[in-house]
Symmetry: C2
Subunit: 210 residues, 2 copies
DNA sequence: GTCTATACTTCGATAGAC
DNA sequence: GTCTATCGAAGTATAGAC
């Protein structure tokens, strides 16, 4: 490849990252060989090791990227306080937007899929999922519902119960999409998922409104 | 091994089944080798092939066993009709009992775990999960809620929405247990899960009671 | 039905030339 | 930084003796 073409292309390390993510998210980490990654990138497998220590290091890089992207997305904690006074409707809307924003690029969508399918047997991913994608959001929503109750915006139901009521449905939708229907059409799934989520929040709202 | 000991022992085919299930549910299908199964059973790997055509045939046998066990458990359809008149409380109780019954033996618990972790990348298991463990129950619960509305036992909320409200939480609990917390203590998880499920059904009940 | 022996394949990873 | 060449380990599966 001449110099001109090379300057037009992404660096090899980034191409390894992208192709690995593509393959991992489609087939699972174990089912993808280093040879296969190399073939897709267009280099020999031994050249991979000039960029990453081993296969696992590629996975680690992907997870690190995911953590950083998640950390810089979503609503800042301080804004929550101001939003709460506007009532639960606004909050559910912002909440839904936050989750959608987090899968809004093809890259992030692939990593979500990868995290979903590898959680069960990669200890690092599992701990990350439990802590950052389950316990932390539940805790956050509990706090939000608690404040709403204090401000008399909703009925005084146990805020932890409400957090589970709201968030278990989100987890369910993620499960449905990334585990069971990932191959199918994204657009039509998303339409249906949004409709389900709307029904869910409307039901919840109806149940707790003062 | 002499004849007396052999008669006291399970047939080799059953021991292959049991050890395979044990290993698959702990480590995942791909991560278990035929050699490893053979070692646990106490025979050579080549002897496995006298009982099962190949590794995949063992998995198929496990899934078949699971299907049969599921089909013969649970509440018969006809009984539903009679139960509905007793109101939603009774139904939620029976529903919870049904799901618990289905993981009530160590063998069934292991298969649940196996199905949960292999769904993402075994096409047969995925189709089975989607159809029998998700769509069919949702459809069943929709029908139940629909009848309750007709009999004026609950508020006239969209029965499909109610089915999702109820059942997405069940899926969530299964996900939490089999994917995220399987290693941990079953008893203490079960206590917490039952408490969560009780909170959930109480909340739902409160929201839809006439 | 179990054994030994082995064929055959694929994997991750390294050494060293260029 | 990429290549050729190759290693050792591990995998599934089969043939044939007992």
């Amino acid at each position: 490849m001449n110099k001109k073409n090379r300057t037009l292309q992404k660096p090899t390390k980034e191409r390894i990252f992208d192709e690995s993510l593509d393959l991992f998210s489609k087939k699972g980490y174990e089912a993808v060989s280093v040879r296969e990654i190399a073939r897709e990138v267009g280099i020999r497998e031994s050249s991979i090791y000039n960029h990453y220590k081993n296969k696992e290091a590629i996975l680690d890089a992907i997870i690190d990227y995911f953590k950083i992207e998640l950390a810089t997305s979503g609503t800042p904690q301080e804004d929550n306080e101001a939003l709460i006074d506007q009532g639960p409707e606004v909050f559910f809307e912002v909440g839904a937007k936050t989750y959608i924003d987090r899968i809004n690029t093809p890259k992030m969508e692939k990593i979500w899929r990868l995290v979903s399918i590898e959680t069960y047997h990669n200890e690092k991913i599992k701990r990350f999922f439990k802590k950052e994608l389950l316990e932390e959001p539940i805790r956050g929503w509990e706090e939000i519902f608690n404040l709403m109750i204090e401000k008399n915006l909703i009925k005084p139901v146990n805020p932890r119960t409400l957090a589970y009521e709201y968030f278990s449905f989100v987890i369910y939708l993620f499960f449905e999409y990334f585990i069971l229907e990932y191959d199918e059409d994204f657009e039509s799934f998303m339409d249906l998922a949004l409709e389900k989520m709307t029904n869910h929040t409307e039901f919840l709202l109806q149940a707790i409104k003062v």
